[in-house]
Symmetry: C2
Subunit: 75 residues, 2 copies
């Protein structure tokens, strides 16, 4: 059970960080889709934690907001 | 071309961070495989940037080293 919780927490937290970064500049999902080439429906699933995206997909979304993927201490 | 560079940079950098975190405690790939349930060969491909893992897979490896995936500023 714990593995599932780790994975869901990671997907949910990254999704929220991506949504916050996108809305901070009033960027819509369709606009981000146009910039990244990732479908708006997939962006929606990623932001809600419903999708399990690859590092490549997340890095493209992050790059569009001048962010990058990193490993940081849990506490 | 740029998208490919973004993705490869993300895969390579995360792989190096995972390897550094693993070797910091002299943890071998087989030992990390036993802890996470992720095959040693896959850990090797992830650490070398050869694989394009999902958020779920990376979060399991990170959790084993008390780390988590985050979006951080590029500069």
């Amino acid at each position: 059970m714990r593995v599932f919780q780790i994975e869901m927490a990671a997907r949910t937290e990254l999704g929220e960080q991506l949504r916050t970064a996108r809305t901070a500049k009033s960027l819509s999902q369709p606009a981000l889709a146009a910039v990244t080439g990732i479908q708006q429906s997939e962006i929606s699933r990623i932001e809600s934690g419903a999708a399990n995206p690859t590092v490549a997909t997340i890095s493209r979304l992050a790059d569009a907001r001048e962010l990058k993927l990193s490993l940081t201490p849990q506490h």
